[in-house]
Subunit: 165 residues, 2 copies
């Protein structure tokens, strides 16, 4: 039996399918929720999904500038990103000031990230034990959680192996 692949974020895979899937899900969810996946928002979502590495707002802005005729204002990108995050289609990584597509759009579970400091890939986790430990810890202190933020920096298996060899 071979080891299971670490994660889609750092394993080679059919990424075009990833993107198509993400766009299709977003479309469906917007329909259901009665919100609009406008061209700008759709395009930004696509750009966020260009890789599994978190991307800065200005990176995305540069892409928009080359894809389109005119360069939109930063605010345009930030507004689209705000929308995508609010709808759960993307996540913001506070420690990187960057954004990455959400692999489980629609569901709203507490999320953690493993961020590789070498290749930059960000792996989205939904670890119940971590979430519960955080809930308990906050509750013990009478603290009401609004948004727990867990971003774990380190080396992904691929980069670790590469460094070790």
């Amino acid at each position: 039996m071979t080891a299971a692949p670490y994660d889609i974020a750092s394993e080679p895979h059919d990424h075009a399918a990833c993107v198509d899937d993400a766009l299709a899900r977003a479309e469906a969810l917007c329909e259901r929720r009665g919100v609009r996946l406008t061209p700008v928002r759709r395009q930004v979502l696509e750009l966020v999904w260009r890789s599994h590495r978190p991307r800065g707002a200005y990176d995305i802005l540069d892409d928009l500038a080359s894809d389109n005729r005119r360069r939109p204002a930063p605010l345009t990108v930030y507004r689209a990103l705000d929308f995508l995050v609010a709808q759960g289609f993307a996540h913001r990584l506070e420690s990187l000031n960057a954004f990455v597509g959400c692999v489980h759009p629609g569901e709203r579970h507490p999320t953690q990230f493993l961020v590789c400091s070498d290749c930059g890939a960000a792996t989205e986790l939904h670890d119940r034990d971590v979430a519960e430990a955080i809930d308990r810890s906050a509750a013990d202190r009478g603290f009401t959680i609004e948004r727990p933020m867990v971003e774990i920096k380190g080396l992904c298996p691929l980069c670790r192996d590469r460094a070790g060899s």
Copy 2:
């Protein structure tokens, strides 16, 4: 029996003693480690400790400008902050781009923060369960942790009660 105070960060207390204590510990640790707590670094540490709310580098810079005759360059503050963080005398809160004094300088345990979105106070935790859950979660995926970052946004008990009443 009265309830234990929530935390020094949001409870009234003798803050001057807090600061004195922090400076004394830093001094002792620098001595032991053979590194220098220069005037700039000392002053920045003091300013980081002006409250239990995380402070931005430019806030600190403004304070330096009014305390001293001349306004130092931003870099001066960032270098001092880098030193303080490296020595474990202060923490950087990634989600706020801000810095706060470390309540347990010298020891190097994994740290979590409860950040009140209302009053801004940041409470430093060292919760073993949270740390271990994170360690397990990363280990399961072959991920080597360098720096786990846990910043929990929400309402501290004081602000929650105030909001509720």
